[in-house]
Every structure is written in C-alpha cells, then in structure tokens.
C-alpha cells in the first residue's frame, strides 16, 4: 500500500528504441487484429470481436497482444506447452504452423481454433505470431452450443495439437478439408479460418521488416524488456493490495434449475508483490458442459489482476510471472478428459468473481461489485428443407447484463462484462441476414441492478419472435440461480430468466438449453444487472429521483429501498 514505484528499463536499450520498437510490436498485433475483424465472415467474429492476435518471442512466450477480449489473455501462450511436449521448436521449417482447439491440450473450448506460425528470418527461428478465433460452428451433436453434451466428443470436431504444413495442408489440403467436412457451415468457418491465417501471415511479414530495420539483437532485447516492463507494472499493482490470505466464493447454476449448484472457491494469498491463487477447493467436475479447461481458469484469474492494473499494461508473458495459480485435477476448474466444456464461460466467470470477491473483501475501495458476469450466448439456426436437400441458416449473439457499481460510479447498463468485450448484433443486421426470427424488443429492465449509494447497472430484455418451424435455439448462460453480489453495503442484483412463450404457455428454461422452436413461439431473455455499492439510503436524492423519472428504478424501490420521502425535488 505504498505510492507507486518508478521502474527502469534495461539501461542497455536506448529509451527511444524501447518506445518505438515496443510500440511497433503492439502495432503488429493490432494490424493482425484489424485484418481478422474486417475480413471475417461470421458475426461472432466481426461484431463480438471474439478473436485475438499476438506476437511471441522465439521461445513462444507472448510479447504483445491486441487488446481484444480478456478471456484470450493467455490463451495463445497456454497452448505452447502442449506443442513443446510433442514437437521440437528448434526443428521447424518456414512452412510449418501449429493448430489446435483441444481443451485438454490447454485450449479453450472447441470453437476456439488456435493457429500459431513460426517466423523465420534468414533461416533462423526468430519469433511466432498467433491468432485465436471463436468459430461459429464446429460440428457436434447439434448446431450451436450443445447444452446436453455429456462428453467432449458431442461438442464437435477435435483438432489435437498438430504441426501442419501451410502449403500442403491448407486451402484444398487435408486439414482444411477435414475441418470443412465436419462443420455445418463450411463457408463461414473456412472464411473465418482464412482471416485467421491471413492475419498471422501479415504479422510474420511485419516482424521480419522490424528485424531488417533494427537488427535481431535489438528486437530480442526489446521483446524481453517489454515482458519485464509488464511484470513490473503488475507487481506494482499487486503490491497495492494488503498482504494476507483471503477467501471468496460464488455459485454456478444447476443444470436443470433447482438442482445441485456447483460452488467455486478461491483462496488468495497476497505476499508483497506476488499473489498465489488456489482454486482447488472448488467443487468436483460435473456431467454437463460447464467444466472449465485449466487454460481458461487461468485466463479468468489473470483478468481480475488485469482489471486491477487497468489499461496500459501490455498483455504478455510478464504478467503471468507474479501470479501462481493452483487447481485440482477433477474439479470443475480443471476437469479430466473428456468432460464437456462448451459452456466454460460460466465457470470461468465464477472463477473471476470468486477471486474478485476475496480481494474486494480486503480492499473494497479498489473494486466494483459483481456485474452480470456471465456470457449469455444465444445461437439460432433454422433448417429449410429444399428440393436439393436442406439449407442451414444460423447466427449467434452474446447479450450482456449490467456492470457492478464502483465506489465512485454507477455500474454501466448492459455492457460487455469483464472477461469479454463482445458487441451486440444490431436487430437490423440480424433481420437483413435471416428470415426466421424477428427481434421484438431490446429494453433496459427497471430495478434489475442492485441498489446502492452507487447503483448497479441495469440488465436487459431481448425478445425474439420465431417466424418459421424447425428453429433450434441453443443457449449458454448463468446467474439464473445466483445474483451478482453487492459490495460495501450495496445490494445484490436480480436474476436472469429465459422463457419460451408458446400458445398460452409460459415455459421457463435453464440458462444452458437446447430449445426446439416453431413458428409463432416467442423467446424472451431477461438478463440481470450488476450489484450495488454502498448503502442505498446514502444515494444522492436527486440521483434517485432522476432514476425514477427515467424509469431506471420504480417508485416503489425509490421509497422502500432507497428511503426516498418525496418524489418532488426538495
């Protein structure tokens, strides 16, 4: 808890070189990201930005990563040990590349295909570039996320960690053809896959240009110094937390509602400028797809520290160094093969919220309350029978709830939560591309954020009218049976519900569901907001009145929870 320390860069590097060259690393990653986003086919990539790019050093340790989604913070680096276990990185040729989507080789879930490309300069391995991209469809038992999967094989095509030859295996080669043959939307998946490869190739060219310009020695020392720089910044952040051992827990939804709810438990030890996070007391792995592959558990923990450090700390190998993470094999956060993992964002979010809760208990002034903190993925597909067979139309979108309030701010309403930065898809874009669904409303829900001196951000309702038969909706969500917690006397937020309206029936479904819909159905999701911060009775009275006037809270809540005496200004 001291004032921040001023660090120094390796004095053998000129300060202008360090700025200019490390800035170039970031630009390379960013240029790769731009290529991927702009040429991608699927809405999940282009609108949800569910993809990441990075530059790695010759030992495949991350140097720079485009600021995309935190869940991908260490996703590319995590895949490297499995590559090393099988292949000798010192025996690569320029046509080699690595590919995997295997959660049990430190991948994420099957939709996330990782592509890593070695960079050669004058026949010497000098660096790597990597891209990871969430693909809309990867086969498996149903189109979209399969809520009923009981093992990995039902979740889609598994690409083990493989060394491939980019000339031989891609385009019309065997690897691309296997992918193409195993997914329901080969055009879109291959389109996105090509965007991923183009991005990695562009990065490779750019790194070679940098080496030509500045010399390999200087490039390598800047890579290493940038990792040290990030490490220093993160250590300074950890040092601001009080030393000690802290505990936090949070709860996942049951599979079918009202069943047993897995509990995630974090034990956090802060010791000077390093941290140990022990997640091993978390519950055992479960039979449904919310198990969290260990790489994804690590990303979730790191994100909490990334948020604490704020923007400006380059994401690279250096930020992994001050943090030790422990998990227990066989737990929901480190499952045994082949447990299903498609909905791992739910448990990754609970990992993050339990770690954050432990730390927020120790230093509430440095944290916000919990947000909706889950991903609400809605995938819809429609199979049209035609004379020549059947056509599948499909889209996926991710709808977010509200943020938790902080010590000095209300939580943002309906905003990408901490592990992601996914945008929404405009209703007009959905309806321009699809003819089987119409978005009927998209509206803030009053009182859905936790009350507090600072109010939790509101959640949202989105309703879809189904216009055709044979529509399958698959969902992945959480917080239907637990509430985002308030902080420092702020109240918890509400809960999420998913409901199908059919004829005169109202059918509530669990957060992770496969729902077969027909023409005339309406599917309504109501996502919770974030927790409040501080005692609601302390909230500025004019702010309470403004919330009532603008319909963000009800009059009843203003009077009963906030203790407002009169709606008229005093």
């Amino acid at each position: 808890m001291t004032t921040s320390k001023q660090f120094q860069i390796d004095p053998s590097i000129d300060p202008a070189d360090f700025n200019v060259i490390t800035g170039a690393f970031k630009s390379v990653a960013q240029e790769m990201q731009d290529i991927m986003l702009r040429s991608a086919y699927s809405s999940i990539v282009r609108e949800a930005k569910d993809c990441s790019t990075c530059v790695m050093d010759a030992n495949a340790r991350t140097v720079a990563q485009a600021e995309a989604i935190p869940m991908h913070m260490n996703s590319l680096a995590a895949a490297v040990p499995a590559i090393r276990a099988r292949y000798d990185l010192n025996d690569l040729s320029p046509n080699d590349a690595f590919i995997t989507n295997n959660p049990y080789d430190n991948g994420q879930h099957l939709n996330d295909i990782i592509f890593i490309l070695p960079v050669f300069h004058k026949d010497r391995l000098v660096a790597f570039t990597g891209t990871i991209c969430h693909h809309l469809e990867v086969g498996g038992a149903v189109a979209g996320s399969n809520a009923n999967a009981t093992d990995l094989y039902q979740e889609g095509l598994i690409l083990p960690t493989m060394k491939i030859d980019v000339e031989r295996d891609l385009d019309d080669g065997p690897v691309e053809r296997i992918i193409s043959a195993n997914v329901r939307l080969p055009n879109i998946v291959i389109g996105d896959f090509h965007a991923q490869i183009s991005a990695a190739m562009r990065g490779r060219g750019l790194i070679c240009e940098l080496i030509e310009r500045h010399g390999l020695g200087l490039i390598w020392s800047c890579m290493s110094a940038l990792q040290d720089y990030s490490e220093n910044m993160l250590r300074a952040t950890i040092a601001k937390l009080p030393d000690g051992e802290y505990f936090g827990e949070d709860t996942l939804d049951s599979q079918l509602l009202n069943g047993p709810q897995p509990i995630i438990r974090a034990r956090v030890v802060i010791d000077g400028d390093s941290a140990m996070i022990d997640m091993s007391e978390s519950d055992d792995q479960v039979s449904w797809p919310i198990n969290d592959p260990v790489a994804s558990t690590h990303s979730a923990v790191l994100t909490v520290f990334g948020q604490l450090a704020g923007s400006g700390v380059p994401t690279n190998d250096g930020i992994y160094r001050p943090i030790e993470i422990k998990t227990r094999k066989g737990s929901v956060l480190d499952p045994h093969h082949p447990a299903p993992v498609r909905g791992r964002m739910s448990s990754a979010y609970r990992t993050a919220t339990s770690v954050k809760r432990a730390l927020a208990g120790a230093a509430p002034e440095m944290f916000s309350a919990a947000g909706n903190d889950t991903t609400n993925t809605i995938t819809m597909s429609c199979r049209d029978e035609t004379s020549s067979g059947s056509d599948l139309e499909m889209f996926a979108e991710i709808i977010m709830g509200g943020n938790g309030a902080g010590p000095n701010n209300d939580g943002a309403e309906v905003v990408a939560q901490m592990l992601s930065n996914t945008g929404n898809t405009p209703a007009e874009a959905i309806e321009m591309d699809q003819n089987f669904v119409r978005v009927i409303d998209y509206a803030l829900i009053p009182d859905s954020g936790g009350a507090g001196r600072q109010r939790g951000g509101l959640g949202v309702r989105r309703s879809y009218n189904i216009l055709k038969d044979n529509v399958l909706i698959t969902t992945n969500s959480d917080r239907h049976e637990s509430s985002p917690w308030g902080l420092a006397g702020g109240l918890d937020a509400g809960r999420t519900t998913f409901t199908v309206y059919r004829d005169n029936q109202e059918i509530r479904v669990p957060g992770a569901s496969n729902i077969e819909c027909r023409k005339g159905d309406r599917f309504v999701i109501e996502i919770t907001g974030g927790g409040g911060y501080g005692d609601p009775k302390d909230r500025d009275r004019d702010a309470v009145r403004d919330d009532v006037r603008c319909g963000r809270i009800t009059e009843l809540a203003a009077i009963e929870i906030y203790g407002l005496k009169s709606l008229a200004a005093e």
Binding site: A16, M432, S463
Partner: protein
C-alpha cells in the same frame, strides 16, 4: 475574388484570393458566444485592408466548429426521439462493447438525450421495408401532442426500425408534426443516414436533431450578417466531406458540418497534389495538440467506410460520409514523460496553448515537443512567435532536468529521443491510413501542413520510407486556403436493403444510378447550378454474403453497362485482396449501399508568385541536430526563393508560420506554382 473564413476554437482565419491568385491572410480571435461576429468582422477587416468591398466578393466560403462545440458542450435543443415500440433503449445500450477493455469502472459515452426523452410508437417493418405492424393516425396524433406539449420538444428525431428500406412511416409522423406543430424541427433517419444498423443511425439522427436548431439559427445569422456587409452571392458552407454546399443545402445536412476545418486542409492538399501532378499524397497536418493524417489517391481524399474509421463525435457514432482523417494526440505541445514502468513517452497529454511549452515562459513546466525542437535548433530563439512570444531554451533545459537525470541523458540527447518518438507515433498513423488499407506509403508523397508539419516532414518521410515531400505554400493557414479551393459537393446514398450481385441486372443497376443522378441534378438545379458541368462519381458498398463490413468499390456506370456486371464483381475481389491479402472469387457478393458523389468543380486558383524574382540567398546558418547528426544548416527565406531554385540539404527554409529543416540527403526544388518539392537523393 474569393474569401474563406475558417472559425476555430481560438482563432478565426481568413484568406482572400484575387483574380490573379494574389493571396491575403488575416487572423483574429474567435468569438465563441456567436462565432459569426468574428467571422464577419474579420471579413470586413480583410476587405478593408485590401481596399475592397463585399460586393466584389464572387464567392464566400465558411467553415465552422459551431456544430462540434454545440455537441461537446451539450448546448443543443430540447430534443425528443420517436422510435419503434420495444427499442426505446438503443441509445443507452449502444453497441455493448467497451472502448477500454480492462477498466473495472467503465462508463459509456453519454448520450445527448435522457431516457425520458425517448418515445415509442406501435409500428414495425421488416428488413425489406414491408409493413408488419401499421401505424394508426390516432396513435401518431396522441404521441405528437404528448411529445410537443407535455415533454416540450423543440426538436424531434424520428428513427424507426428498417426505415432505411422504407421511409413511409417516418414521413407520415413528420407530416403530422408539420401540420400540428410546424415550429418544431424534425430529423428523419431515412434522410440523415439511410443505412442499416439501428444504433449508428439513431445516434446520427439524434445528433442532427439536437444541434440542428442552434446550427440552423447560426447559419441564418451568418447569412444575414454577410448580406448586411454587402455580399450578394450565396454563402457556401464547408462540410466534413471536404466539399462545400450553399447555405440552404447546409441546413438540410447539419450532421455533415463536424470536421470542416481538418477536411478543408485535406481538400487544399488534394488541390495542390493535382496542381503539381503528384496525385498520390498523404497529408499530415500537425498543430499544437494533434496530428491529422489523410490518404489522397488520384487526387481524391479517402472518405470513411464503416469499419475503417472512428465515426464518432465525443464518443457518439456519426454515420455520414466524412473525409477519412486519422487523428493522433501528437503536436507541438505534446508532453514528454516517464510512465511508472519506466518507458519514455510523448503525449497524448498536451500543454496546449495554456500554459504551453516550457520555452514560451507562460508558466508551462513540462518538456514538450516544441521544447525538444528548440533544443535541436529547429526553432529560432531570436525570432518572436505571433503573440509576442520569445522562445527561451534555458526554460526548456530546466523542464528537461528530471527526465535527463532519470535517463542519464544530456538535454539535446533527450530532445532527439523525444523528437524520434513523436516521429514514430506519426509514422504509425501513416501506416494505418496506407499499409492497413493495402497501399504502400513509398508510392506516396508526404504533404506536411499546420504549424508543426514542415518541422517533422523530412524525419517522418525517412521513417516511413517516402521518397518525396510536397511542401505547399501557406502551410500554416492551410484550412482557410482549403476553403478557397473546395468544390461544391454533395454525397447521395441509396441503401434500401442488401442485393445479391448475381441477381442485380445491369438494368437494375442503371435504375439506381439514374435515381441517384436525378436526385443530384434536381438538388443542384434548385441550388442554381448548371447541371451540365457536374462531375458524378459512383460507388457501391459491398461485401461477401455473410460478412459484416463493406468495402467501397468505385465504378463507372458506362463501363459496367458495356462490359457487364462481372467487372463490378472483379473490382470487388481485387479490392478485397488489396486490403486483406485474400479474396473468395467463387463467393456471392451483396451490395448494401449505392452512392453518388456529385461535384460542381470550382476553377483552380492561379498561382501568384509575385515577388519571387529575387534570387534566393542564405541569411546565415544555424546548428541543427537531426537523426543523430549535428550540422550547420544555411537559412533561406521561403518568400525569396524563385521557381526553379534548387539546393541540397542541409538547409532550413523559414517562413512566417513555420520552418522546414532539410537534412543532408534531400534536394529542394521550387516548382512553378511556388510549392516546394523535396526529393531524397539517398535512400
């Protein structure tokens, strides 16, 4: 005689060009409460200085920050939004993503209106514009009365779902407002931004409605004032697309007025590029706090396409065609500092005009780019700056002391590094406008402008590998000069739903082309222009079916009619390859928006190079450190250099508003029109 008036936040710049190309400039403080006051008093002053009267002014052009100021200061009208039932919260939900990913306390950009200002109407269309839920007249009347009388709206934005495909419902509501409350200004999304994606369209429409009344009143006042002064013609108003429109047309395009100053500078750059047969240039406009970069190919500045540019003002999306300028926080006032990790950084924080760089002696204590340039010898401490500012190197050295101690560097060594970091930051911006869009910057000339542009030009060109620099005349008043040369330009769009390219017949394309052309001809005729001389350029925003962002493909309707639709598809595949390194030649393309840019060209200005007969001779020399080399640079006055004058660096060219250091390895050549070409002799 042409007069251009560019109103900035601090100063109002005026430029007057006579029939021979003779150019006079004038600068006075702006009058932010009513910018038209300074505009008009400046105009009468510049006329008086030249012994002219307003009646002799043939064309009068005006660029203003009034729109941006009204928005940023949130001083717009009491504005209501009418939208489709179920979509009240589009402005507050926005696009859900964050601009800073790791910010635990993230706050969204604040919308211009509150949630209590949004009203829903029961209606719905589908993506093809077919009515799903019709409106009832009673509903509309009740709502309009409620919004007008109970809410008290002064201005109403109407943005209904899918109105880009069918504007009928929006127009019906507008008609009822017009009969019941003709005093209320109405903005329709189908007029302002007729393209899909509801948040961006709603935001644009609300911006138009919110600032509309204030800007409209401003334009009226301005028109009256210049009329009172004796100006007989139609005042032209500068737009964000780099063109100008008559005042009456500007009223209908309020959302197009946001970046007129920077756009005018780019227009000037394009004009110089054309005039010197250097069609491909990158303009770099560097002032006190920021650096604006724009790519110009074939004499045409790039315009924004979705997905390639930040379309926003104060964080709020603005979906109109704008000159595609990338802005970074790098300018003379940019502050050098060490971050907590020990990295030396420059900007984006700026010392601005107040307190300014340390060497100004106005209380600034931070070491800025200007201080660095002074220590490097790029600025002359013996010459006062406008505003009676004496540059003091001793104060720059004092400001450098802490950084010098932390980094164990001498002041000049620190200054070199600060200068180099700024150059690298600017080079990244240059790469963003060129390499990221499939262009090689080495095929372009650098065109520096703004007070600090020429000071960084050679270093920046060398950093990016550009072989040539085109140094325009009057680089310090370039926006005002841009006004004097801007074409009258209006952009039209038709985006009534996605059309698959293989189902689009040449007849159907022709139908769209004619529709746009008729619209343009009618408007220009109404504005009093001869439609014969209009230059029409067509383009289509297209994508592969399933992609989310479009590429803008220019086409010539006659060529497509002759050679078939395949040429359009081929052009799209080529552009995709150019930008993304790959294409999908077998895949279906869909056209989203058809566009027409109609321009009434203004004649090129004659070059006035009077007074350039004196042979250039050096006025002494200065010691300058650039790129690690310290040399003696001979000093030349730009106004004394005649066309055809040639000299090799190291020299420094000085003029009233800026200086251009030219290191060894560069050759200077004065062109016939007074522009200077710098060529790298060693690469």
């Amino acid at each position: 005689m042409i007069v251009g008036i560019e109103v900035g936040g601090t100063f109002t710049d005026l430029v007057m060009v006579d029939e021979q190309g003779g150019l006079a400039v004038h600068k006075i403080p702006s009058t932010p409460a009513d910018p038209s006051i300074a505009a008009v008093s400046g105009m009468s002053e510049i006329l008086e200085m030249a012994g002219q009267s307003a009646a002799n002014v043939s064309e009068l052009l005006h660029g203003s920050t009034i729109a941006a100021n009204a928005l940023i200061q949130r001083r717009g009208a009491r504005t209501a939004l009418i939208t489709t039932q179920g979509f009240r919260d589009v402005l507050f939900i926005q696009r859900q993503d964050k601009s800073t990913v790791y910010d635990m306390f993230y706050q969204k950009p604040t919308p211009l209106i509150g949630r209590d200002a949004v009203f829903e109407i029961n209606e719905r269309m589908d993506a093809k514009g077919a009515v799903i839920t019709p409106m009832t007249e009673d509903d509309i009347i009740d709502l309009v009365d409620h919004v007008a009388d109970d809410f008290g709206a002064e201005s109403i934005a109407i943005c209904l779902l899918h109105a880009y495909a069918n504007p009928e419902h929006e127009q019906k509501i507008a008609a009822i407002i017009a009969t019941r409350r003709p005093d209320i200004r109405v903005s329709l999304s189908s007029d302002v931004s007729p393209e899909h994606r509801e948040y961006e369209r709603t935001s644009t429409t609300v911006i138009d409605a919110y600032i509309g009344p204030a800007v409209d009143q401003y334009l009226t006042r301005y028109g009256e004032r210049v009329g009172d002064l004796g100006y007989k013609g139609t005042p032209l108003i500068m737009q964000s697309n780099g063109g100008a429109v008559p005042l009456e047309a500007a009223r209908r395009r309020i959302a197009n007025m946001f970046v007129s100053g920077p756009a005018a500078a780019v227009t000037a750059a394009a004009e110089i590029a054309k005039a010197t047969n250097t069609p491909n240039v990158i303009s770099v406009d560097v002032g006190g706090t920021s650096c604006d970069v724009c790519l110009i190919t074939n004499g045409m500045p790039e315009t924004t396409v979705k997905g390639t540019a930040e379309f926003s003002v104060d964080g709020l999306p603005l979906n109109v065609i704008m000159t595609d300028i990338v802005t970074i926080g790098a300018g003379g006032g940019s502050i050098a500092h060490l971050d907590t990790g020990g990295m030396l950084k420059v900007g984006p924080q700026s010392a601005g005009a107040v307190p300014g760089p340390a060497c100004y002696d106005h209380g600034g204590e931070s070491f800025t780019l200007t201080d660095a340039m002074l220590l490097l010898g790029l600025l002359d401490p013996t010459k006062k700056l406008p505003g009676d500012i004496t540059l003091r190197p001793d104060l720059s050295k004092n400001a450098a002391a802490n950084l010098c101690a932390s980094l164990s560097l001498a002041p000049v060594a620190l200054a070199e590094r600060v200068y180099r970091i700024v150059i690298a930051n600017m080079a990244q911006a240059l790469r963003r406008v060129s390499v990221n869009r499939g262009h090689d910057p080495r095929d372009f000339s650098l065109l520096p402008c703004g007070g600090a542009g020429p000071l960084v030009a050679c270093a920046l060109a060398a950093e990016v590998g550009m072989p040539e620099i085109l140094l325009p005349r009057h680089p310090g008043i370039f926006s005002a000069y841009g006004l004097a040369v801007a074409d009258v330009r209006i952009d039209y769009v038709r985006a009534d739903g996605a059309v698959q390219m293989d189902s689009l017949t040449t007849a159907a394309l022709q139908n769209r082309v004619e529709g746009l052309r008729d619209q343009a001809s009618a408007e220009f005729a109404t504005l009093g222009y001869d439609t014969i001389g209009l230059e029409m350029s067509y383009s289509v925003d297209a994508r592969y079916v399933g992609q989310g962002y479009e590429l803008r493909v220019a086409f010539d309707p006659n060529t497509v009619a002759r050679d078939g639709m395949g040429t359009l598809a081929d052009a799209f595949h080529d552009l995709h390859t150019q930008q993304y390194d790959h294409a999908f030649p077998g895949k279906q393309i869909e056209a989203i928006s058809f566009r027409l840019t109609a321009r009434h060209p203004r004649p090129a200005l004659p070059a006035d190079i009077a007074g350039a007969d004196d042979a250039g001779a050096a006025h002494g020399a200065r010691t300058i450190t650039l790129d690690g080399e310290t040399s003696s640079y001979d000093i030349y006055e730009r106004s004394e250099l005649p066309p055809g004058f040639t000299i090799d660096g190291p020299v420094i060219i000085v003029e009233t508003t800026t200086s251009t250091p030219i290191p060894p390895g560069w050759r200077l050549n004065v062109l016939d029109n007074g522009a200077i070409k710098l060529t790298r002799s060693k690469l």
